[in-house]
């Protein structure tokens, strides 16, 4: 009699365990499904246009990244770090080049947030990009860390 009762209660415990395991598995699967569905939308006409505008400008900016005249800021933009490193022939245009790039970058962050139906994500998108621009920067380029310029 005693052993049967023991067996029964053991079975109860096992059933309970099974229940909780099932619950955990369901939640885990659902979380993953929801995350997989949360792929970020980056294929809107506005984003594509900004991308190609920035891609076309990159050839002009590249020598300035390389010379250290222009560096990456820690808010996802670029800034003039050392105007004297800009060749005389480019000095006149460097300001407008940098502001055009920054306008595109800001618009890009805004468009990505908007394309994903969360305009309030703009700041987080910007911060994500900021880290990735710096991570992907070539050796010798400058980036801002706090208020200091660092060389990669």
């Amino acid at each position: 009699m005693n052993t049967i009762a023991k067996k029964l209660s053991l079975q109860n415990i096992r059933l309970q365990h099974l229940g909780w395991t099932l619950l955990a598995l369901t939640l885990y699967a659902l979380t993953h499904l929801a995350q997989a569905a949360a792929n970020m939308e980056i294929d809107t006409p506005a984003i594509t246009a900004l991308k190609s505008s920035m891609q076309a400008r990159h050839n002009q900016l590249l020598p300035h990244y390389n010379s250290g005249a222009v560096g990456l800021t820690n808010d996802g933009l670029i800034a003039i770090r050392d105007a004297t490193a800009v060749p005389l022939k480019d000095r006149g245009g460097i300001n407008s080049l940098v502001s055009a790039e920054n306008a595109d970058r800001s618009a890009l962050y805004k468009e990505i947030a908007k394309a994903n139906n969360h305009p309030e994500w703009e700041g987080e998108v910007r911060q994500t990009f900021s880290g990735r621009w710096i991570d992907k920067a070539q050796g010798g380029w400058y980036y801002r860390s706090g208020s200091d310029w660092m060389k990669k």
Partner: protein
């Protein structure tokens, strides 16, 4: 068992809602990488524009 199912359903629902509200950092990073690779032409998969100037190699170190 019914109770458990209800709780399970509620939890699952709240999990979905939570995920939608929070910023998907990993997905955003993936999206950022894709865009940066295109803008900086870092991947071979991306066709560089035909008028692309010859690439300047990055300065080693000054």
């Amino acid at each position: 068992m019914k109770k458990l199912l209800i709780i399970c359903g509620l939890l699952a629902l709240s999990a979905c809602v939570t995920i939608n509200i929070y910023f998907p950092a990993a997905e955003a990073q993936k999206a950022a990488d894709k865009i940066i690779d295109e803008v900086w032409q870092l991947k071979d998969g991306q066709k560089p524009p035909p008028e692309q100037a010859p690439e300047t190699k990055p300065a080693e170190s000054k």
